[in-house]
């Protein structure tokens, strides 16, 4: 080991702040910090002065006051005497609901359109190309309004179902498609194990979980059998039975009955109502984002080189197996990251709900609450905080996924 001698002491010169690599970065960061602090101080000072001039303050206690307005779609208990915070919660859940539904259907639309666009059927692929181009190149706000207008104009109002010879009638006598929404029968249990409906549904859910576990067992058994003998037993029928039989038995025992919606007074009563604004927003977001997802899916499949398919075919794999074993596992890695960012876009675009009167968080907290209380700064801050949290959660999930499926390379 050689003994290092200290470098000759340099006297500190001012120019070193810029030209010495040791200090240079510190200097720049100090300048940045100063500029940043100045900006924040300037903006904050303006804010304080303006608020003082207007006699306002920033406080969040308005959230505890009764909201005073009603919301037509609520997943939790709420009435006009509930607080503004509760109204925000109702909106938040509605946002989550429409975003979730739209993510599911947009994926379905996107996958179908993306795959069909690669079809060797000329007409179908051109039709899908037209779908993708038309929906991608027109603003989503216009789509939301157009689809809401279509719903309102094309579907009949409940009035049309009235009278001896109504202009419209219910599908199968139990589904009503109106411009206020779709009414479907609601299942309930006559002789359920519990008095509370939700407990009975929990029983059903538990049954489904058991079915799921058993079907997983069957699949595992089939895989084991295949590994041992090479032949994979056909599992479709048993799996179907495992899902259906317990479910049907449960339904029979608990006395499943359907509550059919019926026109009473002004509206259909009973059954499940899926509100018009929800449907319009849901459909518009799905079909708009579906066009983007279709492009991602197409790109993902095309990114898998033709050589992969050929190699698999040359090994004697049938097209369906080539898809399942070779193309899809690889394509998914390419498709899923942009897919997640489309999910992010759906969540953010769901804020356009106000254009159709859907009570999402932008409409409750950022709309009516803001209007009624005049607490603009507080409401908008909370609103941004919510979306930011949602986005960060989704991105976090995406990063975890990306890390887990990254192809190993040298």
């Amino acid at each position: 080991m050689t003994i290092l001698t200290d470098p000759p002491k340099e006297s500190f010169r001012l120019s070193m702040l810029i030209y010495d690599t040791r200090y240079r970065s510190l200097t720049f960061q100090a300048i940045t910090a100063a500029v940043l602090a100045l900006c924040i101080w300037y903006l904050g000072n303006n804010l304080i002065q303006n608020l003082r001039a207007a006699g306002l303050n920033i406080a969040f206690d308005f959230l505890g006051d009764p909201s005073g307005y009603d919301i037509n779609q609520r997943l939790v208990e709420y009435d006009s005497q509930s607080t503004h915070a509760r109204a925000a919660l109702v909106g938040l859940l509605n946002t989550v609901l429409v975003a979730f539904l739209a993510c599911v259907t947009a994926t379905v639309f996107g996958v179908i359109a993306g795959v069909l666009r690669l079809s060797n059927n000329w007409l179908v692929s051109k039709l899908m190309a037209a779908y993708v181009e038309i929906f991608r190149n027109i603003p989503v706000l216009i789509w939301i309004i157009i689809i809401f207008t279509i719903m309102t104009a094309v579907l009949p109002g409940p009035r049309a179902f009235r009278g001896d010879d109504p202009a419209s009638s219910m599908l199968f006598g139990s589904f009503a498609f109106t411009n206020r929404g779709i009414y479907t029968p609601m299942p309930w249990f006559e002789s359920g194990f519990f008095a509370s409906a939700s407990l009975n549904w929990l029983v059903v859910l538990a049954g489904l979980v058991v079915s799921w576990i058993v079907s997983r067992r069957i699949t595992a058994w089939a895989t084991a059998k295949q590994e041992a003998t090479g032949v994979r037993p056909k599992t479709m029928l048993p799996v179907l039975a495992v899902w259906l039989v317990p479910f049907l038995v449960l339904m029979l025992v608990m006395g499943l009955t359907w509550e059919i919606p019926a026109l009473k007074g002004f509206n259909f009563q009973g059954g499940i109502k899926i509100g018009g604004p929800l449907i319009a927003l849901w459909f518009a977001l799905s079909i708009y984002t579906g066009a983007f997802i279709a492009e991602n899916v197409r790109a993902g499949i095309q990114a898998i080189s033709k050589g992969q398919t050929e190699a698999a075919a040359a090994l004697g794999l049938r097209p369906r197996r080539v898809m399942n074993l070779v193309v899809l596992p690889q394509a998914l890695r390419v498709i899923i990251p942009p897919l997640i960012s489309q999910y992010l876009n759906i969540t953010k675009n769901s804020s356009l709900a106000i254009a159709v009167g859907y009570a999402d968080i932008t409409a409750t907290l950022g709309g009516i609450t803001l209007n009624q209380t005049g607490r603009a700064i507080e409401s908008v801050l909370l609103l941004m905080l919510f979306y930011l949290t949602a986005s960060l959660l989704i991105s976090f999930g995406m990063n975890l996924y990306n890390a887990s499926v990254k192809l190993k390379e040298r």
């Binding site: 303006n46 059927n121 179908v124 216009i142 157009i146 953010k348 941004m384």
Partner: protein, 432 residues
């Protein structure tokens, strides 16, 4: 070949077989139909379903379009003309044409100004979009913003002129001193620009805008599709430099700068544009000095620019990451300082790779400018949802107006995205 033992193997073609046309069933329309539409049963079903869908769509829209009425002055007159038949009332488009395009307040006799500005914008954008054009045209691109500002807002010509002079002074100073030390050139340029603006600003006569060549138009009077185009073009071009700075900042190895950029980008990308527009409409005023008020257009431009720059920063970051590491190392090894390396080596290449992505962001942003209708600005959608549908004459004309808006956006966005695809193909071959 006489001494070959395996004569069965040896073979020499005596003559060249000329190419022949494929067998009959392999040509013409029959083959095309068989291969492309009816190759197997599922395909044939798909074809028939598609044909049915097309038929339904056409059946429902064609009579409506063909019967369209173009010359009445209100919806009730339309209904009279149609006399119960299906048909569109396109008269709303002809009658409110100007409002849809320019908003309802822009002076009618001044429409040539935005028109000219749009035309010049194409000229100004051309050298950026097509690399083959002479680089000298970029000079016009640099002047264009000031020219367009003057054309659209009118008022005193001194204002854009002095603003431009400030930038010219900054460039000159930077060119002179920037060679020696980047920092001196950079800060010198800023100081020079401000000096020019201060002095020039003081020299503008108070009454300059009153007897100006082009009458001043307040930004509140801008509207219609013109407003969408202006917001889109302004915000994208403003967000480019900011996006570049943010992207470089995010790559920086100085933690403070890096984290400031990361937080800004992730924050902006995490919230919907509409909340940022709420900020512009209900919150931002509180952040300006108490004695001044900044009008809605500028506030919206600030927020949309913030929004766009975060997205553009991410695209450019992708471009920077796509550059081979060797380029950075090569730039360092020939002794270029960081600003020089960025300006001369890295950015030109990274930006070129990023252009398709930037164009995509621009298209998305342009579509999103319709959201300003939610905060009571009368862009194309705002005009339709506001004054036109609220008017007595056209109350109830939805399809024609929404369809027109959709068509306009489609034409512009589809055009731009086709350009971006062309560019992508071209870049793909350039890089081979």
């Amino acid at each position: 070949m006489s001494d070959q033992t395996s004569t069965s193997v040896a073979f020499v073609a005596k003559d060249t077989i000329p190419p022949s046309p494929p067998p009959g069933r392999e040509t013409g329309i029959v083959k095309w139909l068989r291969e492309n539409l009816f190759s197997n049963i599922p395909n044939s079903i798909l074809t028939i379903v598609s044909l049915y869908v097309i038929f339904i769509v056409l059946k429902n829209t064609m009579p409506w379009i063909v019967n369209g009425v173009w010359t009445t002055s209100s919806l009730s007159q339309c209904r009279e003309v149609l006399n119960g038949e299906t048909g569109a009332c396109f008269s709303v488009l002809t009658e409110r044409w100007n409002q849809l395009l320019y908003g309802f307040k822009y002076p009618v006799d001044q429409y040539w100004r935005p028109n000219l500005a749009l035309l010049l914008m194409i000229v100004a954008a051309a050298p950026v979009l097509f690399f083959d054009l002479p680089r000298k045209l970029l000079l016009f691109t640099a002047v264009y913003p000031f020219l367009a500002y003057w054309l659209i807002w009118g008022g005193s010509v001194y204002v854009p002129l002095i603003a431009l002079l400030g930038f010219v002074a900054a460039t000159v100073v930077f060119q002179t001193f920037g060679k020696g030390s980047f920092a001196i050139g950079f800060f010198g340029a800023i100081v020079a620009a401000f000096v020019v603006w201060m002095v020039g600003g003081a020299l503008i006569p108070e009454t300059a805008s009153e007897n100006a060549l082009l009458s001043p138009v307040p930004s509140r009077d801008l509207g219609g599709f013109m407003l969408n185009l202006m917001l889109g073009a302004t915000c994208v071009s403003l967000s480019l430099p900011i996006g570049i700075v943010l992207a470089l900042g995010r790559q920086s190895d100085m933690p403070l700068i890096k984290w400031v950029c990361v937080i800004f980008i992730e924050f902006v990308r995490g919230v919907p544009l509409i909340t940022l527009l709420f900020v512009a409409s209900v919150m931002l005023s509180y952040f300006f000095p108490p004695e001044s008020s900044v009008d809605l257009f500028l506030r919206v431009v600030i927020m949309i620019t913030m929004f766009a720059s975060a997205y553009i920063a991410e695209v450019i970051r992708g471009g920077l990451a796509a550059l081979p590491k060797g380029q950075y190392e090569a730039a360092d090894s020939i002794g270029l300082a960081y600003p020089q390396a960025m300006r001369l080596i890295i950015l030109p290449q990274a930006l070129k790779i990023s252009i398709p992505g930037i164009v995509n962001v621009a298209v998305g942003l342009f579509k999103d400018t319709t959201l300003v209708s939610v905060i009571s600005m009368f862009d194309l959608v705002g005009m339709i949802r506001g004054p036109i549908l609220a008017s007595t004459e056209w109350n109830g004309v939805y399809w024609e107006l929404l369809g027109f808006a959709a068509l306009l956006f489609f034409i512009v966005c589809y055009g731009i995205s086709q350009y971006s695809q062309w560019l992508e193909r071209r870049l793909a071959t350039d890089h081979r």
